[in-house]
Symmetry: C2
Subunit: 420 residues, 2 copies
């Protein structure tokens, strides 16, 4: 498959400059970015007149539980602890691979329609979502989801099998959280990090109660604990990071760890507001995720990026507390690097063709005082005109090339009855 | 024009029930809502198979400055006072009717694509936006925008002329704010309220500094002051209401005044977070608006409704602080009643045909655990399949029937150069 995108404006995300011209792809890679050039001797499978629309790297959903689309609007009345133990865990106990397969497909459809080209996904029945991802053509990075209730023994097997299954699929070590993982298991995770020189990811400092509990158990915050146990000796990071102390941020900064923000989920579950500006002040590695649809409830990266930009304004009493372009970088380039997709971070020749087209004819994208700011402050899924992963156009003008939405909707509404 | 919508699920917003069946319109009115019935003896100009999609009242943007689309992404670095005096007022001084005409059209395009069927608009050059509204077919309710810098003398003239211009256009008395309107002018407004038995609207308690200033000048909050001056003797309300005291809420409750929330603008300008739950606890009259595109920066009512539902969770440490259906009512029915559109509040026979269709095939609307909650927690403009005002379909499947988007975009980008 080779595609020529012409008459486009390219926001490579290497910087905030916009290149007018063309972008070509061949198979999974970008082969050319630059001014319109003589293409009479080239042939492409498709040539698309982009009519001045913006082409940029796909957004990266750096923390999600894709198959949790089953729980959208299902239990909106709980804070995190009750939500997990009363509403979610009992239903998750009933989940089969078939549930995960179909509800993952529903999530991929939502990602594609929202300009998301890869997700960093922590969930069960990984073979089922791998199958759904490969069929869809979606780039799925698994994160280990082990805790005291299960999953520890399977981690090494997944590391081997999922990293050798398909170019679209990969696996990174992770565990659920300190409060669900006893010290013996934390040491097991640390041993894995050292055995494989591997980064480790986990939920961290999502609620105040979690941090208080960790202090009671270990006399320190989760970040300090993990650092002491050697869990972060080869990198990685944490999801949420709402209640980080300055010391936690110092540890993450020193080790180059990734802080992944999930603003919507933190608002919905009353967990708190992450002071994003403090992470940016320290020039830390940051990325953005939606968390699962049960606690968001959408999977929109635009809404996340908007909130990560504006929510700090209240605490700081400063309308410019967070630079919007820095957040756009976190939502695209940062996410890719966080989840180990070093070839999907920016648009450049030789990089993966994981990209999206933003429809500049949508009223919310006009006038063009500042295009990047229009995206951060005003965009939603409606501005996504096209989504390409690995050089394949999977979503274009509201239509999916690899997903049968009627079938997905029918199956999901049938399967949700098992989980009522 | 007569339209038959069949195979639809109708959320009338009289309550949270969903009626399966049909909705018919003739000219500007709804003529039938109910089960599929024998229509062999009826003819319609259009019959639309809604394929199970949701039909509901249009959203009402109950506080906006439509033509401020010129300032989208233009001055994102200021808090309210500096933003107004350094970035906005100097540019507004250069605005001509031509600017207001085209930038209003851009706003109408965004409203229609976001399921908004009317706006409560406070701005200048009202004849220019009235022309744009009538050409578009958009329902535009003007709010008086007078303050010490101008507009007082024109108020009565507008009240007369704009209330007799076109069925799509109406005018309600209003003034900018206490901090821009001296006591003599506030008394002038109160006299108008009494002369016409008319409701009055204004910006109120948007920032802490505004309330502090009012206390210095008058020894009381703006709500107490306006109440004392008789401004609210015939109803009305206020925009923002972020820093309301319990006494302010008591006054608004007692008089049945409308509190209009603008969460995005308040976050963006670092003004504060409105404790929406306190207004709902008192069963007050509430509505929702986007404010202008300079301080939002989108005109999405979905984002507003989402934030009005979740933002209270943090202060209350309660994931169910605000009932989502109450917010959906505020964003549709409440807004209509706030701006005097008593026939556009719910879907019923005899009511205005101001309605929208929600595309239930969008992944963010699935599965159907709770449709109203899907709309509040997960919807954005991408789920709007059709927008009808006064019985006319103005937006359908991404296309406008009365707006030439290419022309609007061209004119707006040309005209914005005057305001750089």
């Amino acid at each position: 498959m080779s595609v020529r995108l012409y008459n486009c404006r390219i926001l490579t995300m290497k910087d905030d400059k916009i290149i007018e011209g063309e972008l070509w792809t061949e198979n999974d890679r970008i082969t050319y970015i630059g001014p319109s050039s003589d293409v009479t001797d080239k042939s492409f499978d498709r040539e698309i007149d982009c009519k001045g629309n913006i082409v940029m790297p796909g957004l990266k959903n750096a923390h999600t539980h894709s198959a949790m689309t089953f729980s959208r609007s299902l239990a909106d009345e709980y804070c995190l602890n009750d939500w997990l133990f009363k509403a979610i865990f009992p239903r998750e106990a009933k989940l089969t691979p078939e549930h995960v397969y179909w509800f993952s497909k529903l999530a991929y459809a939502e990602y594609l329609s929202g300009g998301v080209t890869s997700c960093f996904d922590m969930y069960f029945h990984k073979e089922a979502s791998a199958k759904a991802a490969i069929e869809t053509g979606f780039r799925h990075v698994f994160c280990g989801a082990a805790n005291d209730y299960g999953g520890m023994e399977e981690l090494e097997g997944y590391y081997d099998s999922l990293n050798n299954l398909d170019p679209l699929v990969s696996f990174i070590y992770g565990f659920h959280a300190e409060y669900t993982t006893k010290e013996e298991n934390l040491r097991f995770i640390s041993d894995l990090a050292h055995k494989y020189n591997a980064p480790i990811f986990t939920h961290i400092s999502e609620t105040k109660a979690e941090v208080d509990g960790c202090k009671e158990r270990y006399g320190c915050t989760p970040a300090v604990l993990f650092d002491r146990l050697g869990i972060y000796d080869f990198g990685g990071g944490g999801f949420h990071c709402v209640w980080f102390t300055d010391e936690d941020r110092e540890i993450f900064k020193k080790r180059g760890l990734w802080s992944v923000f999930n603003a919507c989920s933190n608002l919905k579950l009353a967990s708190g507001i992450t002071p994003v500006y403090k992470f940016i002040e320290k020039d830390m590695n940051i990325a953005i995720g939606t968390d699962g649809a049960g606690s968001n409830n959408s999977l929109s990266m635009f809404r996340e990026m908007y909130l990560d930009t504006v929510l700090s304004n209240i605490e700081t009493n400063n309308a410019a507390a967070v630079d919007p372009f820095t957040v756009l970088k976190a939502g695209s380039t940062g996410g890719a690097l966080c989840m180990g997709l070093k070839d999907s971070d920016v648009l450049a020749e030789g990089k993966k063709a994981d990209l999206i087209m933003i429809d500049m004819n949508k009223p919310s994208m006009q006038p063009e005082n500042n295009i990047a700011r229009n995206i951060i402050y005003s965009a939603d899924n409606s501005v996504v005109k096209m989504t390409m992963i690995d050089g394949r156009i999977l979503y274009e003008d509201g239509k999916y090339s690899t997903i049968d939405m009627d079938e997905v909707i029918k199956e999901c509404n049938k399967l949700k009855k098992d989980l009522a």
